[in-house]
Symmetry: C2
Subunit: 111 residues, 2 copies
DNA sequence: GCTTGACGTAACTATATAGTTACGTTACTC
DNA sequence: GAGTAACGTAACTATATAGTTACGTCAAGC
C-alpha cells in the first residue's frame, strides 16, 4: 500500500478536514478565514488540520505578506477516486445480481 | 455531517480494511479466509477490522453453520463517491483545462 | 520603533484506535 | 459424545490522534 495514498485517506477521514476542503472548493481562503469558520475550535486545532491536509498534498499554501492563502489541490482526491473507487464502480451495476446469487446460495445450504 | 457517512470514511481510512474490501471485490470470503490473508496479524485484530467494516455497512455477514461468509456491500462507497467526491470532479476537469491552457499559452510565448 | 494582527512552535492532556492475550461458545466430524 | 474447527467476548496495552494552553516570530501600519 502506497504510504502517500494512506496519508490522503487518513486526511479525508476527519469530518473537520473534509469540511475545510468543501470550503476551499469555492476558492482560496486565508488561514484566518478558515479558522473563523470553526468557532467551536481553537485556532491551533484548525491549523493542525490544515497541516495534515497540506502534508497529504490536498492543500497548497502560498505566503502573502503576513497572511497565508490556502488553496485546494484536488488531484490526490482524483487519484483515490479513480484508482481505488473505480474498480468498485462495476460492482455497483451488478450489485442486485450478486445479492440475488447470495440469497440462492444461502437457500441451497438451508434445510 | 451525517454520522453514518463519517463511519464509512473512518472505516476506509485504514489500509488493512481497504485491503479486505479489495479481496471481497472478487467474491465472498469466510472470516477464516480473510484472517489467513493477513499472516502478520492475529485473528482477533483482523476480526476487529471486519467488525468496523460491518458497522459501517460495507460488509454483510451471513452465517453458514459454524462459518461466517462475508460479502461486500459497495453501496456506501458509491454514496461517498457520488455525494462527496462528485463535486470535486468538476474542479479537476477545470484544472486540467487550466493546465492545458497554460501549456498552450506557454508554447505561444516560447521560442 | 512600537503595537497589533497573522501565523508558528512546543509541550501537554484526553480520547480513540489498533493490536494483543486469555477465556468462552457453538457446531461439525469422527 | 469427545475432539476440534470456526468464531465470539472481555480485558488489557501501546500508540496515534485531536485538541488544549503557553509562548514566540514576523510583517504592516501608525
Amino acid at each position: 500500500m502506497a504510504e502517500e495514498t494512506d496519508q490522503i485517506w487518513k486526511a479525508l477521514s476527519d469530518p473537520t478536514r473534509r469540511s475545510i476542503l468543501d470550503a476551499l472548493r469555492k476558492g482560496p481562503r486565508t488561514t484566518t478565514e478558515i479558522v473563523e469558520a470553526f468557532p467551536d475550535m481553537t485556532r491551533h486545532a484548525v491549523m493542525k488540520h490544515i497541516d495534515v491536509l497540506r502534508n497529504a498534498g490536498l492543500v497548497i499554501t502560498r505566503e502573502d505578506g503576513r497572511r497565508r492563502v490556502n488553496s485546494l489541490n484536488a488531484v490526490p482526491i482524483r487519484q483515490i477516486y479513480e484508482r481505488w473507487m473505480g474498480p468498485f464502480a462495476e460492482i455497483w451495476s451488478s450489485t442486485l445480481l450478486r445479492i440475488k446469487d447470495d440469497a440462492e446460495e444461502g437457500q441451497k445450504h438451508d434445510r
